[in-house]
Symmetry: C2
Subunit: 352 residues, 2 copies
């Protein structure tokens, strides 16, 4: 009778396939609990045969390799705290508006992924000369109505990125087997790239000598800067430096006096080295206090800023910068499919 | 391993107090399941002593009456299917923007409420001459920071509305005891009025000879048409005729050919008698097909419209009208606190 328990929920964008945002404004964790990790699917969930959990490596290799889940867990592993962000995060904010799922700020989550460096597995197979890309195919499969054809979800990486020491084939999330909806049994984890690269339900790795041209590589996840032309298109790869204001909420009414503005910031290049706040529409910026997660080079940072709120309506801007010299821009880089939004975050509040 | 189950969730607006929207675009029920009924609270949830479930009627009455849950269930009952809509539903759509919780379209739900006409209970107490209003106080209690004072949530009704045959003290929702978060054990149900009147955790009914002036009556739930003045204010009472487009979703990409546009419509006066669709920015309107719930005069109607979608970007407008001559306006009635939004619903889609 006295269940006082209130809990946030994922926010539903679609059910078939299932796409749901993380309630990012209501989570304070370093490691997003699995039930609050955003869901972004291209197809319905795959059927998985628990008797047949193998990962295959083939193509331009010395010998085809098949690795079972139990074999994989006997390789030397590494565990990394990684934010995964959907390339469409914040799509709803583009102006002019872009069509497609209207993700707001919750297509980002992070947690501890444990797995085996992909390089170790590719070494088992033995890359042959001329290996240019590694293609990763998940078990998720379905029709693309725009192409009138069916596909497995598949993405490639340049071979150098595939061989990077932090590109791993993960089999645990936050200390447990990867949840079914997040890629059980194997998920590729590609730190610092948008999460379409971190292929779920990973089943096949093909090494190829050319560029992969599947539709999730060459049609989707491409920046098209023009509405009616494909001119100057370029692939979506590394995460843009970004931040979210978790408190206060946009258009909320707060009380005058000391208020803490707080949130998170992350980037795909180097590390976050500054988060700055402006209450005067960008004329002056003041540094927020940053909190880093020890020994985790990819983790988001938590930031906060204590502000003496005074009566009236205010706009709060937040801008993160990274160690590679990237800074959130005032205006977003508009592109037709709405990827990579990272403009300075902005909320309006009323202080009473 | 093959849990293909996808389910929508409530959408979290705040946790303290708990305010969550119904995932209205993903529900097709006549009776909203309790877990999908929107949550709108003013304070934290009240503590409820299951040994002490009484409803009290006092004030300007012949004799004070206390009624237990088991006594109440022995009165003649009625069961009605009623949509409850928060007065702040669609607040996020006002332009200029208004501060406060940014409810989108999900602050509306409906279900079967079983209870006893309030008139029967007031007859037990015996109204004395001069009875002007009935005040309903819930068990939920807390501080209003704007007033630096604590209050029970309380609202009043004019005595005529309190005596209306369909104003009931409910004790069941969809055939079960009212869920804790929705007002167990007693909830006042006031059909056709915005849901702040349907007081949850109903504990005390006072009959008074004057107008009630609690803050949820005279400060909140008041239309203030001007930003900087209280001129021409008027209380929020009956629901404005309204509708929601459930499919397709705003800014979605759909395929050319026959597509069904569907949704719901409801009103606070009379019954819905027309829902019309416009694909040409309001120049021409075509009637949608309506589906009524038999023998339920308050229920929302379901509507659908079959449309031969052709390539391009389109704006779809939907406008409901009721039997009392009310029609959704093109422009919303702006008011400072953002109540009663009922402008014509609009989505943009891309057909490919």
């Amino acid at each position: 009778m006295n269940s006082q328990f209130s809990a946030p929920y994922l926010k539903t964008l679609s059910l078939s396939p299932e796409n749901q945002e993380s309630p990012i404004h209501f989570l304070k964790h370093w490691k997003t609990p699995q039930d609050y990790f955003y869901l972004r699917n291209h197809f319905s969930y795959p059927l998985i045969n628990p008797q047949n959990l193998f990962l295959s490596i083939s193509g331009n290799v010395n010998k085809r390799v098949e690795i079972s889940l139990s074999e994989l867990s006997r390789f030397p592993s590494k565990t990394i705290l990684v934010p995964l962000e959907c390339a469409g995060n914040n799509r709803a904010k583009f102006k002019p508006k872009v069509f497609g799922e209207q993700w707001e700020e919750g297509a980002v989550s992070q947690g501890k992924w444990k797995g085996v460096p992909l390089k170790e597995l590719l070494d088992q197979a033995g890359l042959l000369d001329g290996s240019k890309e590694a293609v990763f195919a998940g078990m998720d499969f379905g029709e693309r109505k725009d192409l009138n054809e069916s596909f497995y979800f598949a993405r490639s990486l340049p071979i150098e990125k595939a061989l990077h020491e932090d590109t791993i084939v993960a089999y645990e999330y936050n200390g447990k087997p990867i949840p079914y909806k997040h890629g059980y049994p194997f998920r590729l984890i590609v730190p610092q790239w948008y999460a379409m690269s971190s292929v779920k339900w990973l089943m096949n790795i093909f090494i190829i000598r050319h560029e992969f041209n599947g539709p999730f590589q060459t049609k989707d996840y491409v920046y098209y800067p023009f509405k009616d032309s494909d001119l100057d298109k370029k692939p979506v790869t590394a995460i843009n430096v970004n931040s979210t204001i978790q408190e206060p909420l946009n258009y909320s009414i707060i009380q005058e006096g000391l208020q803490t503005i707080r949130g998170i910031a992350w980037t795909g290049t180097g590390t976050i080295n500054e988060v700055a706040i402006s209450i005067d529409h960008g004329d002056t910026w003041r540094k927020a206090t940053l909190k880093y997660r020890e020994n985790e080079k990819f983790s988001w940072v938590k930031w906060h800023f204590d502000w003496e709120a005074y009566k009236g309506e205010h706009t709060i801007l937040v801008r993160a910068s990274d160690s590679e010299g990237n800074m959130q821009p005032i205006k977003p880089y508009w592109n037709r499919k709405g990827y990579g939004y990272n403009a300075v975050q902005k909320i309006k509040i009323q202080v009473e």
